[in-house]
Amino acid sequence: MDNIVGTKSRLVWAVNLCALALVVLWTFPTFGLLVSSFRDRDQISASGWWKAMFPAEASVQYRAAGPDTAVLKDGLYVLEGNIFDGGPGKVTAFGTSIREPGAHLVNEPVVTDAGETVAVLANGDFTITSPTAMEGGRGMRIFATSVTPARFTFENYGRVLGAEGLGRAFLNTLTVSIPATVIPILVAAFAAYALAWMEFPGRALIVALVVGLLVVPLQLALIPLLKLHNDIGIGKNYIGIWLAHTGFGLPLAIYLLRNYMIGLPREIIESARVDGATDFQIFLKIILPLSFPALASFAIFQFLWTWNDLLVALVFLGNSADQLVMTGQLKNLMGSRGGDWEILATSAFVTIAVPLVVFFAMQKYLVRGLLAGSVK
């Protein structure tokens, strides 16, 4: 007990550091994706995203204009140009063969085997001079090590939303998740009210059934339901996926709402009954407004789940442009554009943007739903 104050401050330090370490570990990967989505292809393959804030060192390869464009100046054939095409950048070293791309420093002219003198300035300007007419069909290749200042671009987003089809997929995902969130709520709310506030034989059994169905793996339902949908003519269609998401979301919806409704004060409901309100009126005018927090919790869950879902969409929707959802599109891109990180990172960020916004805006309800929804 001699040093209780000192121990305490050391403990506070340890706790803060521990929390900081966890937060950094947990946000670092996502942050990397975000940064990568603002870099262009060359930057991404030239350096890790954590170096994005600093000037990047890259090797540039430039082919000068053809020898026939050289102009005669003071008895010398001269070719001029800029290896950045006028863009920003700073050359630190250059070379004329691919084996030694950084053999020479800037401002130090070199003479090639063909007798041509090559000089490169720091800003990328180069001059090739030759006492005789230059030969060959194509221009000389110049290799340079350059330092480019940190640079970010929005180009990836435009490209991904348009050419890569993610804009369309975004709309498709929206089409799937909004009805699949709205429809189960009403259906579940009525059932939850019956299970919470109406007396009838078999009630306990149905509650047990709902709790049991909470954990039924979706895998079990896929084949039979796909067959069923094909048999009754729904096929692979939005109607099918709405129904499927509704069915799969119902156990959690009923469970959450019933747990919430059963906690509402009995007096309110009984006094309404005494005043002659029917069950239908009690439900619509008292229970439903009072249950708003639980409804919101479930709505967020269901929205996040339907938005993020891949499995159900793969099974119940087709692969055509007008039915492919974002997660499916992202999966396809991972296959076809495995190494194009500028496309992948941007697409991934587009798919997770909406859930992240919903998450940060409605975190309170999400937490409340989680606490009520985990079977105690």
Partner: protein
Amino acid sequence: MEQFVMAAVTILIGVFGCICYFFLSNMALDRLYPASGPMAGANINRANQIRPWLFMFPALALLTVYLVYPVFVSIYLSFMDAEGDNFVGAANYIWLINDDKFRESMFNNLLWLVFVPAASTLFGLIAAAVTDRIRWGNFAKAMIFMPMAISFVGAAVIWKLVYEYRPDGQEQIGILNAVWTNMGGEAQTWLTSPVINSFLLMIVLVWIQTGFAMVILSAALRGIPEETIEASILDGASPLQIFMKIKVPQIWGTILVVWTTITITVLKVFDIVLTMTNGQWGTQVLANLMFDWMFRGNDTGRASTAAIIIMLMVTPIMIWNIRNAAREAR
């Protein structure tokens, strides 16, 4: 555009249809057994017996068609051949037991079952304990909780970038290889090296689930009666002792709940494996095996059998949940 009209119409039909159904069916019931006249008492009783079922009918119908019926059809299909036409007895199950990929999936699933719930719960507990004690705790919580909102596919992309490999001599753009080569190692193609790759996939799920564990456990920690903690402080317990010997034992029930909930998620894990390795290089799991046989193998018999195995693994937890819920209701 047409698609949005369709979606909007569906929402309208759904919501309006629901309200109409409930309203009209209730009205019909009141007409049939009016709460007036000579039979009023008997009528009210009878109406009250029927009404709950009117309220529950749409939900029960959907649950039956979308969750109960498929269980039985799947059991039936698991005894049928690839097209589901001919009875083949236990052939699918016998094939499954002898299949190398199935054994690999079972082994991996068991690894997942041990590692992911344990690691998520442990990290969640640590995160809950430290974030409750600091001033910027809410911000820290939100950051650790954030991956919960990210789809498995999105998480797969995020972590694939972490594990990205570039041949030696090139600049490493994956943070794991960058750190690894900086420490003097040789760049690795992490996702193709067996056993370690399974763990790298598990880390993705741990990353997602820790936030869930943290939120639930943090609420439980705050629910602990103050007296027990005050008493232990007076008795001279150190903060670590208080945490390990006073707090943790009091939230065992919640830890168990978190553990089982994550276990169920683990059993169904699919997207991460499909998009990161597609079950190659020794990372196959049951849910992806099932998907493979369903779409690539076009064999409903074998796919259903794999699904039944997942169901069997979930069943103990299901029974445990039902018993707990029943006990609570009493």
